[in-house]
């Protein structure tokens, strides 16, 4: 599992030039990573929510561009920036009320099929990669065959993938297992929490999965019946470059057809609808500047010259000033976003603690209900504790990553007290009141459901 985690984690790093690996045979057609887990809303439900995922299959090399691509240079860049992939993001989630939406899954299957190989510690990178690739060719086309639902009301550029329900059912549980166990990591986590180490990633993933367990929310309702989460196509610059190249090969924006472009691009999981809408936007974008270029050529020289000399510098100055302001805003926003992320990190930690608390509570009740002798309950407590420890250890690691002071945080049952000593410096640094209350609750016997 760790191996897989590393593999997941490494892949994006590799492609962004951060790390080097010979396993960069992923260059041509591999999905890079597990998706950000926005809606792991399953668990006990057989209905497993698909994960958002970035899948990159991109046969075209990046076009050389004179412009600086901040691919490798910026610490928090989107890892998929090396131009070797197409960026396709799928956000999808099953509503927890199974009532519904077939709007799930799909990208799951490749991963699922890859899991047998990827689960083995040996050569995880290649295992994963090759497994994925094999799957790509076969299963993706199946997925892609599904028509975009008419009711989706999609904005251009966003498409929903709807696999059949059968497809879903066969893969759900396997996928659920894989993701719950494999600590797969999404590079997007990397972006969200750039300070986090790989270990944190998996912990974060786990937390995210668990956070929507039934019963977590006191009201007890499924929270994430989210029709909001459908797979979305996100055009990255690299993917767009491939698109442009294909279009040019076909004779330009006006002559290229969506079908031709799609075929030429040969990007898995790209549908003709995506291409169509993108082509439309592309044509619109080209039309305007051409108009202005054309008109500027036609305009009379003296007119242009006079305007130019008189106001050129003024305009440039104004533009420069405007640009400065915009840059400042951008900087502020970057900082604000980082703050938001950090603040919300605590939320995750709390969620995890809550979940542990709930779990413990349920198990305790179960134990109390079924116990016939003290031994039975002691056994239960021990198993809780051991279950608890890895999670809390992870939580502590997470806190570490946030730069907290090393502090022992005891959230384990007294029965598991021995293990506390082993926990290194960690996350006691949540400074809101909530954690201490939670701590009290967990330590205490009365668990609040």
């Amino acid at each position: 599992m760790r191996a897989e985690m590393n593999m997941w984690h490494d892949l994006p790093m590799q492609t962004s030039g951060g790390k080097c690996s010979s396993d960069l045979t992923i260059s041509s057609s591999t999905p890079i990573s597990p998706p950000p887990l926005d809606d792991y809303s399953k668990m006990s439900d057989p209905f497993y929510a698909p994960l958002e995922r970035d899948i990159f299959t991109h046969p075209f090399p990046t076009n050389a561009s004179p412009f600086i691509h901040h691919s490798g240079s910026v610490a928090h860049t989107y890892p998929l920036s090396s131009g070797l992939k197409a960026g396709i993001r799928f956000n999808s989630c099953s509503p927890r009320d199974r009532s519904s939406h077939n709007s799930q899954f799909f990208p799951q299957s490749p991963i699922e099929e890859a899991s047998p190989s990827s689960n083995h510690a040996s050569a995880p990178d290649t295992g994963f990669v090759s497994g994925y690739r094999e799957v790509d060719d076969n299963s993706w086309s199946g997925i892609l065959d599904f028509p975009v639902p008419a009711s989706s009301g999609l904005v251009e550029g966003a498409a929903a993938f709807l696999p059949s329900e059968d497809h879903v059912k066969t893969t759900d549980l396997q996928l659920a297992d894989q993701f719950l166990n494999d600590d797969a990591v999404d590079p997007l986590w990397d972006n969200l929490f750039p300070d986090s180490s790989a270990a944190d990633m998996q912990m974060q993933l786990k937390i995210h999965q668990r956070e929507v367990m039934p019963g977590m929310i006191p009201v007890g309702n499924p929270v994430h019946n989210t029709p909001a989460n459908k797979p979305r196509m996100r055009w990255t610059p690299e993917l767009h470059d491939a698109f442009v190249e294909a279009v040019n090969q076909l004779g330009g924006a006006d002559r290229a057809t969506p079908k031709g472009v799609l075929k030429l691009m040969n990007v898995e999981s790209l549908t003709i609808y995506h291409v169509k809408s993108h082509l439309q936007k592309y044509r619109t974008a080209r039309f305007k500047p051409e108009v202005s270029e054309g008109s500027s050529e036609r305009s009379s020289a003296p007119q242009v010259a006079s305007m130019d000399i008189k106001t050129g510098l003024d305009i440039t100055e104004a533009l420069r000033m405007q640009m400065e302001v915009q840059k400042q805003l951008h900087e502020q926003l970057e900082i604000q976003r980082k703050l938001q992320l950090r603040i919300e990190e605590q939320g995750k930690y709390l969620l995890q603690m809550l979940e542990q608390q709930n779990k413990m509570g349920r198990e305790k009740l179960k134990a109390a209900a079924t116990q016939t002798n003290a031994n039975a309950s002691a056994a239960d407590e021990k198993s809780e504790a051991s279950e608890l420890d890895p999670a809390s250890a992870e939580a502590q690691e997470q806190q570490n990553s946030v730069g907290s002071k090393g502090k022992q945080q005891n959230i384990a049952e007294p029965a598991a007290g021995d293990d506390d000593d082993e926990r290194g410096g960690d996350g006691g640094s949540i400074s809101m009141d909530l954690p201490s209350r939670k701590r009290a609750r967990i330590d205490g016997v009365d668990l609040h459901e």
């Binding site: 926005d38 958002e52 412009f67 901040h70 860049t77 960026g87 956000n91 904005v155 969200l192 937390i207 929310i217 929270v223 994430h224 019946n225 029709p227 909001a228 989460n229 996100r234 055009w235 610059p237 470059d241 442009v244 936007k281 974008a285 500047p289 270029e293 020289a301 130019d308 106001t311 050129g312 510098l313 305009i315 104004a318 533009l319 000033m321 405007q322 640009m323 400065e324 302001v325 915009q326 805003l329 951008h330 926003l333 970057e334 604000q336 980082k338 703050l339 938001q340 939320g347 709390l350 946030v402 907290s404 002071k405 005891n410 959230i411 007294p414 007290g417 021995d418 506390d420 009290a440």
Partner: protein, 351 residues
């Protein structure tokens, strides 16, 4: 309160076509505030949505748009409450409905964001190509092509560059502001219902496309990096003189975020050129966004982790200038308060 006001103000000042893509903060707040929730209630909360009035019976919360929400809450709450005294909503139903509303909001954000992102990718690529073309033309037939055409094209490119950069930054702002608003709404919800929706829904929101702005930021940085390539070219081109009088005090803008250049000057100048409607709109929205951020910083929240506390500590020096050092101080603050907490509370037994 403060957030709502800042939010509203920004909405008024931002790009018009973006206005209805933002979070329906006020309506959601009202819904939280006014929907009668009781354990005895067993009504569909969507009954609250006025049917026959204007909306023509929008049935479900899932498709609730801003208009429906606004219509919903614009009707007099007290009277509604009176009428619906015995028809209050159960907590479960309310949560269900509310989550659907929020999901609708998320979808709205995502749709808009992804759409815009795609547009920016296309436009940015086009711009780069134009620059390349112009450079090539320039170098190829330096003596044949007219200088004025070149400089005009350069000027257009520059304008488009600034425009796209501005829009991208505004999209970043859109993302950040909506997220902040969402978190606040969730807090209010939790407060009203005693639930814990905030925790899980926030996690959900964090991973939505509209909040994963890394690709966008990358584009923005790329823009900024190439900025210098762009502007000095003008100096070469316009043969107008080095001693052309610069009216603005030409020092580069002050290092602090405040004060931005006077809106009038920039606007009036920008007005003289063509693609201007956008230029001024964007500039205005940018200023508004800056003000919103600064306004949010000044909020009175006591939470040591809030933005305001963070910035308060720095406020003495730069006028609200925020640097990455502030991020370090987040950790410091947390450590401090964590320390205090630890001292104050009795720690659980540790063996």
């Amino acid at each position: 309160m403060k957030f709502g006001k800042e939010f509203r103000t920004h909405l008024d000042e931002t790009l018009p076509e973006w206005r209805d893509k933002f979070l329906c903060y006020k309506p959601l707040k009202k819904i939280i505030k006014h929907t009668p929730i009781s354990s005895a209630g067993n009504n569909d909360p969507t009954h609250y949505i006025p049917h026959a009035d204007n909306n023509g019976g929008r049935p479900t919360g899932a498709s609730c748009s801003a208009a429906a929400l606004v219509a919903l809450v614009s009707s007099d709450p007290p009277s509604r409450r009176r009428d619906l005294g015995e028809t209050s909503v159960s907590l479960v139903q309310f949560q269900d409905w509310f989550v659907r509303l929020l999901n609708g909001e998320l979808e709205k954000f995502n749709d808009f964001y992804v759409d815009k992102e795609e547009e920016f990718v296309i436009r940015f690529q086009e711009l780069k190509e134009r620059i390349e073309r112009v450079k090539e033309n320039r170098s190829v037939d330096r003596y044949l092509s007219s200088d004025s055409k070149f400089s005009e094209e350069m000027m257009n490119i520059r304008k488009d560059f600034v425009t796209i950069h501005g829009e991208m930054v505004l999209l970043e702002n859109y993302s950040s502001l909506n997220f902040a608003g969402l978190v606040k709404i969730l807090k209010k919800y939790d407060k009203r219902t005693g639930g814990l929706l905030q925790l899980s829904f926030t996690q959900l929101a964090l991973h939505q496309p509209f909040f994963t702005t890394e690709p966008l930021m990358r584009l923005v940085r790329e823009c900024e990096a190439n900025l210098d390539l762009l502007f000095p070219l003008e100096e070469e081109v316009t043969e107008s003189t080095s001693d052309h009088p610069h009216d603005q005090s030409n020092a580069p803008p002050p290092p602090q975020p405040l004060p931005p250049p006077p809106l009038n000057d920039v606007e009036s100048i920008l007005h003289e050129t063509s693609s201007l409607g956008e230029g001024t709109d964007i500039y205005r929205s940018t200023l508004s966004a800056m003000r919103t951020i600064q306004g949010l910083r000044m909020s009175s929240t006591c939470n040591p982790l809030s933005f305001s506390a963070l910035f308060r500590s720095k406020d003495e020096e730069a006028a609200g200038a925020v640097t990455s050092e502030d991020l370090a101080s987040v950790s410091a603050l947390r450590n401090e308060t964590a320390d205090q907490e630890d001292d104050a509370t009795s720690t659980a037994p540790s063996p």
